[in-house]
């Protein structure tokens, strides 16, 4: 089994006495897209900035490939391409100059990905960046970040200021990178789209990565909600006592505390031949909301 592309252990970061990252542990495997999810202020950007040593950690270790990033930050940055969350380019440069300047720090660009990125994000490269819109600036930043010939990509809110078609092009490009064995850590608030590309997601809650048990518990809690569309009126539903009706037929919405009760309810409903029934895994958005109940957003 190949070593992870990124391994973070016990990462801590404090600002003015306040701990923003309180012992973060996770890893990104080779050829994996890992989603980083959390509300505003959860520490996602701080975490990514620590990974590329823009911010210095207070404790913990960061390993990118075989390199200890805390000891050799420059060597580690050679193995990863970082897209900052807030696009900030050099306004006085032309688009083409900015791309050339950025690529000069690496051994050129990945020509195939650069071509695909140019097709996905067409730009008037002869114009100065100060004349670009926010979306165009983001496209320049994406072309820079994704064309780098690195095995790991650290991407902070890449879909900021992008329209829907550009977002779709971005996620297609991420899947191309993944198919070539590249690893990607991506932070995004567009959870529906993130669900489509991410192999798995980690949730940053109050400076810590939520454990698998916490996520499972949230999923379990959310599993006890059922929606069904029943044909016509139903005179009486004989549901188990633990099941509560939130909305009556024909758009039935049920809630239960125990999975056994919900399974019994499901049997009852199936006998009524519902035209549709939703009782599957909760969406990323629902897990996110469940985990962050009460957190700042």
């Amino acid at each position: 089994m190949s070593p992870p592309s990124l391994e973070v252990r016990g990462l801590r970061k404090t600002f003015a006495g306040q701990e923003v990252l309180c012992g973060v542990d996770f890893e990104v495997r080779e050829g994996e897209i890992l989603g980083l999810v959390g509300p505003n202020g959860a520490g996602k950007t701080t975490l990514l900035r620590c990974l590329v040593s823009i911010l210095h950690r207070n404790a913990g270790s960061i390993r990118i490939g075989s390199i200890d990033a805390t000891r050799d930050p420059v060597g580690a940055r050679r193995l990863c391409s970082y897209l900052p969350g807030e696009t900030s380019l050099y306004d006085h440069m032309r688009g083409s100059e900015m791309l050339e300047f950025a690529s000069s720090f690496y051994e050129g660009v990945d020509p195939e990905i650069a071509r695909l990125a140019a097709e996905a994000f067409p730009l008037p490269l002869d114009q100065k960046i100060k004349h670009y819109s926010a979306g165009m600036k983001q496209k320049v930043a994406l072309r820079i970040a994704l064309s780098a010939p690195t095995p790991l990509f650290l991407i902070d809110e890449p879909d900021r200021a992008l329209d829907k078609s550009s977002r779709q092009a971005l996620y297609r490009l991420l899947l191309v990178l993944k198919s070539r064995g590249r690893s990607i850590l991506i932070s995004s608030h567009h959870l529906a789209e993130l669900t489509e590309v991410a192999d798995r997601c980690i949730y940053l809650v109050h400076g810590r990565i939520a454990s698998e048990e916490q996520v499972q518990a949230a999923q379990d809690r959310l599993s006890l909600v059922l929606r069904a569309r029943l044909p016509g009126q139903v005179e009486e539903l004989s549901l188990p006592p633990g099941v509560r009706i939130l909305e009556h037929p024909p758009e039935l919405h049920l809630e239960a505390d125990r999975i056994e009760d919900m399974n019994q309810a499901m049997e009852v409903l199936l006998a009524l031949h519902p035209s549709s029934i939703e009782y599957g895994r909760p969406s990323l958005q629902e897990i996110y909301d469940e985990l962050f109940q009460g957190a700042v957003d």
């Binding site: 210095h56 420059v74 900030s88 950025a102 690496y106």
Partner: protein
């Protein structure tokens, strides 16, 4: 190398303006030398009596007194170009150059882009400081050397080595202001904060320079008329000048650069 090129592109307009301003002030001073000389000779004693500082009294006395015209011309160049021109335009440029790179980039957020590239912070600071230093001192040397070429227009002459000594001295001084600005740029987050801090520092130093009792502790004592009056006519051997003054300025510059480097390595730059 890419940071060197980028910094030069960002700073070349300011550098050119700085060179033009220094040249213009110097040219105006030199072509008005005969007129000035007449005025100084006539009114030298009066000015000497009312001059606010000892160095100015000494200058007026030197010019007004029946000294050789050559010495008077050297004193005039010292005060016009080195004491006035470089101390005002050079310091202002040092502050603008210093705040226009690190502080400006931190404020607009592009420093996050730069510091996340596979390049060390040491290289970033060396590149930026190197370019800014050249932008600051090359115009000083160009204009100072030009004096040797322009002086014959007024029927005067000055030794080149004296002008080189003056250029080295003033360059070391303005470099100190540049490095101080870079230090503040790493310490603080916005251009306004840096400019305010360095501005307050310079104003305080100028202020105490004009107070007789504490003038000796003012940084500007290093670049007043007295500092240049012996240098420009070429009467001082450079080894003496180096070991008495320049070595300390060099050490102060080095200390400030090392302090900036250490702070730059440790600082969170996001």
């Amino acid at each position: 190398m890419q940071i060197v090129k980028k910094t030069w592109k960002e700073m070349r307009a300011l550098t050119l303006l700085y060179l033009m301003l220094l040249s213009l002030l110097l040219f105006l001073a030199l072509i008005y030398w005969p007129e000035s000389r007449e005025i100084f000779v006539k009114k030298g004693k009066l000015y000497s009596a009312i001059a606010p500082t000892d160095s100015l009294k000494k200058f007026f006395w030197d010019v007004a007194a029946p000294y050789a015209e050559k010495a008077a011309y050297a004193a005039y160049v010292a005060i016009q170009h080195f004491y006035k021109g470089i101390n005002i335009v050079g310091i202002a440029t040092a502050v603008l150059l210093g705040t226009g790179t690190i502080a400006k980039e931190r404020e607009r957020g592009s420093f996050e882009f730069l510091t996340s590239r596979p390049i060390s912070r040491d290289k970033i600071l060396f590149s930026i400081t190197g370019v800014l230093t050249l932008c600051l001192i090359v115009p000083i040397f160009i204009t100072s050397m030009a004096i040797a070429w322009l002086a014959p227009i007024s029927g005067q002459s000055l030794p080149l080595h004296g002008l080189v000594h003056g250029a080295i001295h003033s360059s070391l001084f303005v470099e100190l202001i540049l490095l101080l600005t870079l230090f503040f740029s790493v310490l603080m987050k916005t251009q306004v904060q840096v400019a305010t801090s360095i501005g307050a520092f310079v104003i305080f130093q100028v202020g105490i320079f004009f107070i007789t009792g504490v003038r000796k502790v003012s940084l500007f004592k290093l670049t007043d008329y007295e500092a240049y009056q012996a240098m420009i006519p070429g009467n001082v051997e450079y080894s003496r000048l180096f070991w008495s003054t320049h070595i300390w300025l060099i050490l102060a510059n080095l200390a400030l650069f090392v302090a900036t480097l250490l702070l730059f390595r440790k600082r969170d730059l996001g």
